[in-house]
């Protein structure tokens, strides 16, 4: 993350049109990509749970979606700040990328209430997995729909090298890798914490202290 920040502020050139404001791009876009990939990954882990009936996959799916939601909050906030600086508005409802991300975010915001509304752990894991798979399939479809839409107000950065010179591309890729590593580290941290708590609870139950 330090290397990425160093590249963003000391290596990547200042963009001509947006100026310093374009530096938000190296934070906002990797956050959005990692967050969306996290949602899809949560769905894949949910498939693994339904196939194997192994509760560990359900826990991994839950943690990945939880972390993607946190990253999603950061995406919406940094995107709003960027929109305000660039377009003069905090939010533009006519912009399909913004609205589609909000829809995905709100969809996943219902994941936790749905999950914890079910008391039976077996049913809870099963229903949460079904939700994660359906919503996970919706994410790439949504992305594709936005890409196919005609209003291209939102800047396209991937797939068009003309938009991004070499130094900016390198900085962007390093930022993306850094964000993905941060995501993986936080997921691993939360998984370990959750497993420890579950182990502690089960030991207490075995010893009759709960």
């Amino acid at each position: 993350m330090g290397i990425a920040l160093g590249l963003v502020f000391f290596y990547a050139p200042i963009e001509l049109e947006e100026g310093l404001l374009q530096k938000i791009f190296y934070l906002h876009v990797p956050l959005a990509i990692v967050s969306l990939c996290g949602f899809v990954l949560g769905g894949i882990m949910a498939i693994a749970h339904l196939r194997t009936r192994d509760r560990r996959w359900d826990l991994r799916s839950y943690v990945t979606i939880h972390m993607s939601l946190i990253f999603g909050v950061a995406v919406l906030l940094t995107g709003s700040i960027w929109a305000r600086g660039s377009w003069g508005h905090w939010w533009v409802w006519s912009e399909p990328t913004l609205v589609s991300f909000l829809i995905v975010f709100l969809l996943y915001a219902t994941y936790q209430p749905l999950r914890f509304a079910i008391e039976d752990p077996e049913r809870q894991a099963r229903y949460a997995s079904v939700f994660a798979i359906v919503a996970g399939a919706f994410v790439p479809l949504n992305f594709l729909a936005v890409r196919l839409s005609t209003a291209y107000v939102h800047p396209r950065v991937l797939g068009s090298s003309a938009n991004l010179p070499g130094t900016m591309r390198l900085t962007f890729l390093v930022s993306l890798v850094a964000m993905a590593l941060l995501f993986a580290t936080l997921c691993s941290y939360e998984l370990t914490a959750k497993r420890t708590r579950m182990l502690l609870r089960s030991r207490s139950r075995i010893l009759g202290y709960q």
């Binding site: 947006e18 530096k23 934070l27 906030l77 940094t78 420890t196 708590r197």
Partner: protein
């Protein structure tokens, strides 16, 4: 000098850049703080569990010792009793 100042863009957007990065790090900090709080709860529960386990182990040892002593006492009394 005024000519130079007027040539500079009025809003370079550095405030927005700082705000975006600060927001990101604040979110990260809040998450880490919540996790640290949860971890401290786990540590407290672990300490409680260890204390209870040690206490119950001590009680078991004491009961075993007391059981052994009372058995010896019973045997001695039985020996002293007239047949």
């Amino acid at each position: 000098m005024p000519t130079l100042a007027s040539a500079l863009p009025e809003d370079t957007g550095d405030g927005y850049v700082a705000a975006a990065y600060i927001v990101f790090f604040v979110i990260l900090l809040i998450y880490v703080a919540i996790m640290a709080l949860r971890l401290s709860h786990v540590q407290r529960d672990l300490r409680d569990l260890r204390a209870r386990t040690q206490e119950s182990a001590r009680d078991d040892t004491r009961q075993d010792a007391a059981g052994g002593q009372s058995k010896e006492h019973d045997d001695q009394t039985r020996e002293r009793e007239p047949v």
